[in-house]
């Protein structure tokens, strides 16, 4: 049933990684990405892998889940690996037919693949352990300083959370409209891609009309509940940075510093 869909990849749990403040997690992922792209030595890459392994273990994520998250991007990973392997010039290791594999090519290829894998796993861990709603909240708080530059931070995050709220409702409605059209003989399953896309038109029109009506009613209901933008608003669940959050950020800063040091030293 469409009604039972879960949004994103969030997998509820009660580990230390789940309990961290979403802002901490967002910051740490950013720091981690910087770490990945700074690391250009064997030790640096290994350290980055170790960081990832630590997060995976602490969040009790299974390797199966990680592999599932990587599946859609498998093609890109392999392609990057192969291109770097065959097209890097340097000291030849193996040579057959038109291919020329160099020592530099092997290193480069391993490095690039590592980067992509760590990048995917790192951001995947974030969405796996943080609900879309907390990510929205965290982003709003992190982007708060941008308000001074007149970026409508509150409005953006409000739009995000309302969109998240209405996805299941609109899904359910799509289901209903499709059933209604099917009952009148609409055919969504056969024909060419173009024909099938065209068959969706009688679903989309009523869906849009109803979405606008809903938006209008929701706006009135929000006004009735004294909504007047973000100014003077308080929150019931205030995000609070605990000592573990600061420790976590410090740890990731230290790791980034270590990787930079390794790069400078070239080991």
């Amino acid at each position: 049933m469409l009604k039972d869909i879960t949004l994103g990849q969030y997998f509820p749990g009660d580990t230390i990684v789940h309990r961290l403040d979403p802002r901490t997690k967002l910051l740490c992922v950013t720091l981690y990405i910087a770490e990945i792209f700074t690391a250009n030595t064997v030790c640096g890459v290994l350290l980055s892998y170790a960081t990832l392994a630590m997060a995976v273990i602490l969040s009790k994520t299974t390797v199966k889940q990680l592999l599932k998250g990587m599946k859609p991007l498998l093609f890109i990973i392999i392609l990057t690996g192969l291109l770097n392997l065959f097209y890097t010039t340097g000291d030849t290791l193996v040579k057959f037919w038109i291919f020329n594999i160099t020592r530099q090519g092997v290193i480069r290829s391993a490095q690039m693949v590592s980067r992509i894998v760590m990048l995917i796993c790192g951001s995947f861990l974030l969405t796996l352990t943080t609900s879309p709603l907390s990510i929205t909240d965290g982003l709003e708080m992190l982007m708060n300083p941008l308000k001074k530059l007149r970026v409508p931070v509150h409005e953006l995050s409000m739009m995000m959370s309302i969109a998240l709220r209405f996805i299941p409702t609109l899904m359910e409605e799509t289901d209903k409209i499709m059933s209604a059209q099917k009952a009148r003989g609409a055919d969504f399953e056969t024909g060419s891609l173009f024909q099938r896309a065209k068959a969706l038109l009688p679903v989309l029109v009523p869906l849009f009309v109803s979405a606008f009506r809903r938006a209008d009613e929701l706006a009135t209901a929000m006004e009735c509940r004294c909504y007047h933008g973000g100014s003077g608003r308080t929150r019931m669940k205030e995000l609070k940075m605990e000592s573990r959050d600061w420790l976590c950020i410090l740890l990731f800063l230290a790791l980034l510093a270590a990787v930079i040091a390794l790069r400078v030293l070239g080991i």
Binding site: K3, L164, E217, L218, C224, R225, Y227, T234, R235, M236
Partner: protein, 284 residues
């Protein structure tokens, strides 16, 4: 005592319409009362409701909420926190993806301190008996439950008046029962309730019943007064509760029974008495 809402010569026309949707309405609502407004689609009852908390502003005349003019923009938030409103479709008034976050929406907008919001949210959810669902996702709840969440969302503002605009129109019988019980409970707790509906059965227990048609107030009185005017109601294409209909049919056949017994029990009692009288007449 000064009424909590006072409407003076209210006239309203939607922009672009040729006819007035509300024609010269004057009335007031007492604190702590339970008023039902009954009328057909297009009778102007929802338009009237939207005037009570500044969603619509009068074309002529004025609406006073606790002495504040609804056209006074500087008092807008005060007016809206005094008069809470619940609408027909529960799906389109729930803002957040978690029940308790939705109930917290109004107090968050009002800038209430977070511990106080927590207290209000818990209290409001207990009032509508949805406390154990506080961490659920609203889209997985039933219609009646969702509508009770919407009511809790308004209660968390701690309003003095709650206006419900056909809150049961989209619900199944079970959901309707839940919501009506919830409204009765609010009334017992002293909240001023204004219920807009076209279900006769929901009006039986109110203190005062207003019947609207064509943008005007046609009848205004206690439910038993209003429902005893069967012919007038029928002329407006409105029905009467079944109990009144039964008594009305008896009267048409020449049986002298009072017509204003609204509940099944009192109706049965009235009929029983009448039958005894008849029996006595035959015995002689």
């Amino acid at each position: 005592m000064e009424p909590i809402i006072k409407i003076e010569n209210l006239r309203f026309r939607y922009p672009g319409n040729k006819e007035d949707s509300l024609k010269n309405i004057s009335t007031s609502f007492e604190k702590g009362s339970f008023t039902a407004i009954l009328g057909h689609n297009g009778s102007g009852k929802s338009t009237l409701a939207k005037h009570l908390n500044s969603i619509l502003l009068p074309s002529e005349g004025r609406v006073l909420v606790k002495g504040m003019d609804t056209a006074d923009e500087s008092r807008l938030l005060d007016i809206r926190r005094t008069v809470g409103m619940v609408f027909q479709n529960p799906d389109n008034q729930i803002v957040a993806s978690v029940v308790e976050d939705d109930v917290a929406f109004a107090p968050e907008n009002l800038g209430v301190e977070s511990s106080e919001i927590r207290r209000r949210v818990d209290a409001a959810l207990k009032q509508v008996e949805m406390y154990e669902y506080r961490t659920h996702a609203p889209h997985l709840l039933s219609g009646g439950q969702k509508q009770r969440i919407a009511i809790a969302g308004v209660l968390a503002m701690q309003p003095e008046v709650i206006v419900l605009d056909e809150p049961t129109a989209m619900l199944d019988p079970q959901g309707r029962h839940e919501v009506i019980n919830c409204i009765e409970e609010l009334r017992r707790q002293g909240v001023t309730v204004i219920l807009i509906t076209h279900h006769m059965s929901e009006c039986i227990h109110c203190d005062r019943l207003i019947v609207m048609s064509d943008g005007e107030i046609r009848m205004d009185g206690t439910p038993s007064e209003v429902f005893s005017r069967v012919e007038e109601l029928r002329a407006m294409d409105l029905d009467v509760p079944e109990t009144v209909d039964i008594l009305y049919q008896f009267r048409k056949r020449g049986l002298d029974v009072p017509i204003n017994a609204l509940e099944a029990e009192s109706c049965a009692a009235v009929v029983a008495v009448a039958l005894h009288v008849l029996e006595g007449a035959f015995d002689e």
